[in-house]
């Protein structure tokens, strides 16, 4: 698997990361090295194998829908970098 800087740019946009040029160059090489190694999986025949997301056979269960207290708003907002009394503040997103 050949990894190019353009591919790293693309996944950086998806990840909301903006790497400085030097870091991008290093990551490109490292990602290629890691992905080349991962190609070892190609040697294993998995045709007909169902992908497994959870190891134990869990199934959905139902419980009564009871109202319980959730987090206290003031306490939760206290951790925000820029809150007001009732919301998280961000730059204007819609003109």
């Amino acid at each position: 698997m050949k990894i190019t800087e353009e591919m790293v740019d693309y996944v950086s946009i998806l990840s909301r990361l903006k790497l400085p040029q030097e870091e991008k160059e290093r990551m490109t090489g490292e990602l290629e090295q890691i992905l080349v190694y991962m190609d070892v999986l190609d040697g294993l025949d998995t045709s007909g194998v169902e992908p497994m997301s959870h190891v134990f056979p869990l199934k959905n269960v139902l419980r009564p829908d009871e109202v319980v207290p959730s987090g206290d708003r003031a306490a939760l907002l206290a951790n925000a970098p820029v809150p007001d009394e009732e919301a998280f503040l961000v730059p204007k997103t819609v003109e």
């Binding site: 870091e23 951790n79 730059p91």
Partner: protein, 493 residues
């Protein structure tokens, strides 16, 4: 014997008998931390003495009032810094959570508090638990108490170092691919990753949700059993938590291994394994044999696929879990942004360290259009095959025995330059997380430099009683778990 050389259960026993007060135990821990923290940097946050002593006084009051609490009531302990603690800063060893103070306790923290645990502080780790040496911490690396020029392992390196240095009697770590077992091995302590779902993950800051599990690090297997009993169980707030059906784990420590079938996967003893580690682990097998276990080698060819499968799945899950760190709801926000996207990008680029960013890029790549089937879906299929291979092995064996890591603790700085090499060193621990199985790391010797070696016991799902009993029995016949770096230093003088 110094107080810090006791096991957690022994210390708890002194407190139950009234021979030692929780306040005295807490003061002993504080003194030890004052002497050790500057040397090993095991803690990101040390609670101040008054806060620790206040907790001890409270436990003392509850015990005096006749409350039962637990065999570990009044025993000082510490938590890895990815476990939320109400009112106590929880950083995940990241800049991005540098001033995050959770408004609630993780279920595990809440249960230990209710059982009379006295919290000393929050333990250093690799940033977001991503790393195998605890060097990716934004708050500086932890050092291995056995040799301060060596890494303690990771990601729960602070937890292993604090127990080894006698700063706390037990610690709680998290294990996504070996993060409890490998540092336990490097630091000569006992560490248990329980079956996936045994301990609620509520309040554990997530890395890879299908693999993450909390567990104890302590001096002995007995201590691990006692701590796990306090933390485990079904929790309404974690849909994957299990009813374990164990009964009493401490009561299953019988010392009887007659007829126990132990499998040695030949593929875990081949190329890449250090000779001294191999010899020590095989010698551990002999100890189990002498107690009546039947030990046999078998072939486990899936080993060559476990590392790529693990890193694909872990990175893929991580990107989803780490998308919440965006400079809006909690934690650190970059300055000088122009709009919302710029705020996200500047905050995440400057707030995450290199290893975290590497895994985010990797995870995003394996999930991206055109590569999803070749990497992520493929990994989930291989995971099914790995799980199947373990199911088959446990039809023949009660337990498996392997090394924990291919070598002893590396020198600080040695692993950081080569991420792939670091990933490969996780080979013996990651498959258990993929299959959800319990694994315990126990000290089984020392290498020529005097660094500890660990052996890993692996059980079937919810087979904790068997795993812990085998480790307990091993520790009845050996004293590796009783040795400590401070004792070694004292003897050297």
């Amino acid at each position: 014997m110094e107080l810090w050389e006791y096991t957690a259960l022994e210390l708890g026993g002194l407190i139950q008998k009234g021979e030692l007060s929780p306040t005295q135990a807490a003061q002993a821990a504080l003194d030890r931390m004052a002497a050790e923290q500057d040397r090993n940097n095991a803690f990101v946050t040390c609670l101040d003495g008054e806060a620790v002593l206040a907790q001890a006084a409270d436990v003392e009051k509850r015990l005096a009032a006749g409350e039962k609490l637990s065999p570990l009531a009044g025993v000082p302990m510490a938590l890895k810094d990815n476990i939320c603690t109400k009112g106590v800063r929880t950083t995940c060893a990241s800049k991005i959570l540098g001033d995050f103070t959770p408004p609630y306790d993780a279920t595990a923290a809440e249960k230990l508090k209710a059982a009379g645990g006295v919290l000393l502080g929050k333990l250093n780790m690799d940033e977001f638990a991503m790393g195998s040496t605890s060097e990716t911490s934004y708050y500086g690396p932890t050092r291995n108490p056995w040799d301060l020029d060596h890494a303690p392992g990771g990601s729960s390196g602070g937890a292993a170092a604090a127990v080894a240095a006698g700063e706390c009697w037990y610690a709680i770590g998290s294990d996504t691919g070996g993060s409890i077992r490998q540092p336990a091995s490097y630091c000569g302590v006992t560490g248990l990753k329980p079956t996936y779902g045994s301990v609620s993950r509520y309040g554990l800051i997530a890395y890879a949700s299908s693999l993450d599990q909390l567990g104890p690090l302590a001096r002995s297997a007995d201590d691990c059993a006692a701590v796990l009993e306090l933390m485990a169980g079904r929790d309404r707030r974690d849909g994957t938590s299990l009813d374990n059906g164990w009964g009493s784990l401490t009561a299953s420590l019988t010392g009887d291994l007659k007829g126990l079938r132990v499998g040695l996967p030949a593929d875990c003893f081949g190329e890449g394994l250090d000779e001294e580690v191999r010899a020590a682990v095989l010698a551990a097998a002999e100890v189990l044999k002498a107690r009546g276990a039947v030990v046999e080698e078998f072939s486990f060819p899936m080993m060559k696929y476990v590392v790529p499968t693990y890193y694909i799945i872990a990175a893929a899950e991580a990107i989803s879990n780490l998308s919440r760190f965006d400079g809006v709801k909690y934690g650190w926000r970059a300055e000088g942004y122009e709009d919302l996207t710029d705020l996200y990008e500047k905050t995440r680029t400057q707030g995450f360290g290199a290893e975290v960013k590497r895994r985010i890029l990797l995870g995003t790549f394996v999930l991206s259009a055109g590569y999803y089937d070749a990497y992520y879906k493929k990994a989930l299929q291989v995971k099914a095959l790995i799980k199947g291979a373990y199911d088959e092995a446990f039809e023949k064996y009660d337990l498996l025995l392997t090394p924990v890591a291919p070598t002893t603790a590396p020198r600080l700085g040695e692993s950081l330059g080569d991420p792939l090499k670091m990933y490969l060193s996780d080979i013996y621990t990651v498959p258990l997380n993929l299959a959800g199985l319990p694994g315990l790391s126990m000290p089984c010797g020392f290498d020529g430099q005097g660094l500890p070696i660990g052996a890993q016991l692996i059980g079937p799902a919810l087979g904790e009683a068997k795993v812990l009993n085998a480790a307990h029995t091993f520790q009845l016949d050996t004293d590796y778990h009783r040795q400590s770096p401070a004792r070694k230093e004292a003897q050297a003088k």
